[in-house]
């Protein structure tokens, strides 16, 4: 029992000295092994506490992030509204809504708002998990946009043409592309979650600012 605790302490020491591969080493131990360590030992390898000055910096950034988020989100929404609204001079059967004098379809309005929210979250939210959620919202918005283009295409259906010639066929390409971008986003999410897990194990926090501060102070040491 004691030897096991010593072994953990030894690997933590080597981890601190940057001599070991983190993923390999953590796979060897179970959570109950770490519980065997005394509180003083645990405190030794906990990340360095953030100093008061740094806490002040972190807090003072909070307000700035709010302002920046609102500005980014509003800017993106405005730009995208202008980009998409005039693309639909002849509405293809989709219901239109009016936003600030611009006519736009429901789907595109949803795309614009979702994209802006996702982008802003990914850029400016401090929590890593929420950043990943933001990325997923952003990518789903583009998926929806690609998907909405496939509806009501002018291609002819190969078999049903003789019975219902007026129906047309929805384009297969946008759906396929939405699927491709979905696959990419799943891969990216998996990778980002792995990284988040790694960072959380090391620094015990999900706040990217705090993580960067810890990493910076490690480098100075």
């Amino acid at each position: 029992m004691n030897r096991r605790a010593e072994a953990i302490k030894e690997s933590l020491r080597r981890w601190d000295a940057d001599q070991i591969d983190l993923t390999e080493e953590t796979a060897r131990y179970q959570p109950q092994d770490v519980r065997m360590l005394s509180d003083t030992d645990k405190a030794l390898w906990a990340p360095r506490p953030i100093r008061r000055m740094e806490q002040f910096e972190l807090r003072s950034f909070q307000g700035l992030y709010w302002v920046m988020s609102v500005v980014t989100c509003a800017g993106l929404i405005a730009a995208l509204l202008f980009a998409m609204a005039s693309l639909r001079d002849t509405p293809a059967g989709t219901p239109l809504i009016q936003l600030g004098g611009l006519m736009i379809s429901f789907q595109e309005a949803a795309v614009i708002f979702l994209f802006a929210i996702g982008f802003t979250t990914l850029l400016l939210h401090r929590n890593l998990v929420k950043k990943i959620i933001g990325f997923n919202i952003m990518n789903s918005a583009i998926g929806l946009f690609l998907f909405s283009m496939g509806a009501g295409g002018s291609l002819r259906p190969p078999l049903a043409e003789s019975v219902a010639p007026q129906m047309g066929r929805s384009g297969p390409l946008p759906g396929g592309l939405a699927l491709a971008s979905l696959a990419v986003s799943v891969l990216v999410t998996a990778l980002m979650l792995t990284l988040t897990l790694r960072l959380y194990r090391k620094y015990h926090t999900l706040n990217i600012d705090e993580i960067c501060m810890h990493a910076q102070s490690e480098r100075k040491v």
Binding site: L80, L87, F135, M149, P174, V188, R198, C212, A215, E218
Partner: protein
């Protein structure tokens, strides 16, 4: 000779295949396989370049699959594409050869297969971005490149690599999101994915004068996305961490090649999709010009502040990216020529600097800090020479590639109208700043260390590093002394590019 046209597709498929196979192979065989792949890509690209430059009279459009027009996907290449592929593959090959020892130190042996798989994937993405004529395929490989680069970065699981990889991923994803939205908007307004078809639709739209605002926003989204991904000022803060923390081979590939491939894709979009007239009319070139100038100065200043050799080289990447965007921002034929030459120059110089810096720090007790590097060039003479040649080339000493690149930018400035003086001043200031941080390092590594220092023992250069270092230096001198063939290829190539 007509079967030479199949080579680009073969290169892409071979790299994808190698990536899949090398992940399950033992370390040694994965390395041999990747080296063989890089040798063959260099050879095949050289053959394609020969075919395009000497035999073909116009760009080759290579259609994959039997369905054409709207449904198929295409590769298109003239001279510039195989030339870029050749430069990138050569740089990657020399990088892998030279960084072997450092790789075994930084990456645990069971991870090597994954490292080589990621390298082959990056190569496949670079080649696909260089050759593709399909906008969506371009986007997909932009993402493949991002994921594989992240793999290369985080495979060294020590130091701050996880933090660096996370910041890199966040910025890359913001960039890809914007690129994808821009590309989707282009598809929405034209209904096409193949670049020439979009170009036809867009020029028709441009002539009618309708939809100017949405088109400008679309152009800006794509440009902004690529700028964020390649780390243009003010989106360059992740760079020193990302490139400074990775293993030197990965740093060389990530800093020298990956951002350049994104920029090459942007150039392709400017020439083949949007058209240069529309791009300049949207005002994107002027914004890139301003940001490029700012990046050159900001990158150089942050490099001067650094106290760590790899981070300093990484900061200088930000300045070089600034040059490349400055070339686009000049908005003339000359600017584009200078910019492409700068891409090749940077791809063949920066990896050498990263490798030499790693060798120098290896003989200084593994420290990257300038204080400890004192006298390291006396301990490892070859690394000192390679670093010095790379550094003075970056500063722009005549006889080396860097000088030609700066001379081309200066020539481009003369025909740039009201931007002339700004460009010339920026070039002068940047040369002085480059000299400050690179020559300071050179002086430091050649200052003899105190005799009592236990590290003060000469070390014989490793044969692998010697081969790649000498080849990098030779390339730099060869093109620096005889730049005309390369410049001719670029000029003719860009005429056939659009």
């Amino acid at each position: 000779m007509s079967w030479f046209v199949h080579f680009p597709l073969i290169c892409i498929l071979l790299s994808l295949l190698t990536a899949a196979v090398s992940i399950i192979l033992p370390e040694k065989y994965a390395r041999y396989l990747t080296l063989a792949l890089l040798f063959s890509v260099v050879a095949l690209s050289a053959c394609t370049l020969y075919y395009d430059a000497a035999i073909a009279t116009e760009a080759v459009t290579y259609r994959t699959g039997r369905s054409g027009a709207v449904w198929g996907t295409e590769l298109r290449f003239s001279i510039v594409e195989p030339l870029t592929a050749l430069a990138f593959a050569l740089s990657m090959l020399l990088c892998l050869i030279g960084g072997k020892t450092q790789l075994t130190v930084d990456v645990s042996s069971h991870q090597h297969g994954r490292f080589y798989a990621a390298t082959s994937l990056v190569l496949s993405a670079l080649l696909a971005l260089i050759y593709t004529n399909d906008l969506f395929i371009g986007y997909v490989f932009v993402e493949v490149c991002t994921l594989a680069s992240c793999g290369l970065m985080m495979i060294k699981s020590r130091g701050g690599s996880a933090t660096a990889a996370m910041r890199y991923m966040i910025f890359s994803l913001l960039g890809s999101g914007l690129v994808l939205l821009g590309v989707a908007l282009l598809y929405d307004s034209t209904g096409q994915w193949l670049m020439p078809n979009i170009r036809i639709a867009l020029s028709a739209l441009h002539q009618t004068g309708l939809y100017q605002v949405p088109l400008s926003i679309t152009v800006s989204l794509i440009t902004l996305g690529v700028a964020i991904k390649s780390g243009l000022f003010p989106f360059h803060y992740w760079m020193p961490d990302a490139y400074g923390c990775a293993t030197p081979v990965a740093s060389g590939i990530l800093a020298g090649l990956v951002p350049k491939a994104y920029i090459f894709f942007l150039i392709k979009i400017i020439y083949r999709v949007i058209g240069r007239t529309l791009f300049y009319a949207a005002g994107a070139a002027d914004i890139l010009f301003v940001l490029g100038c700012a990046a050159i100065i900001a990158g150089a200043l942050s490099a001067i502040r650094e106290n760590d050799i790899s981070r300093m080289i990484a900061c200088s990447v930000a300045a070089q990216i600034g040059y490349v965007f400055l070339g686009i921002g000049i908005a003339t034929e000359w600017g584009m020529d200078a910019e492409l030459f700068h891409i090749y120059f940077h791809a063949l110089t920066k990896p050498a600097l990263f490798l030499a810096a790693a060798q120098l720090s290896a003989v200084s007790g593994g420290s990257h800090v300038f204080r400890d590097l004192q006298g390291s060039a006396h301990r490892n003479k070859l690394a000192g020479v390679v670093f010095t040649v790379g550094a003075v080339s970056m500063v722009g000493l005549p006889g080396l590639m860097g000088f030609i690149s700066k001379a081309m930018f200066a020539t481009a400035a003369l025909s740039a109208g009201n931007k002339t003086f700004v460009i010339l001043i920026i070039l002068c200031v940047s040369t002085v700043l480059n000299a400050v941080y690179f020559l300071r390092t050179v002086v430091r590594i050649y200052t003899p260390a105190p005799a009592a220092d236990p590290l003060n023992v000469p070390v014989k250069a490793q044969p692998a590093f010697a081969v790649s270092g000498i080849l990098f230096v030779l390339c730099n001198f060869a093109i620096g002394l005889h730049p005309q063939p390369v410049i001719d290829l670029i000029v003719t190539g860009l005429h056939r590019f659009g």
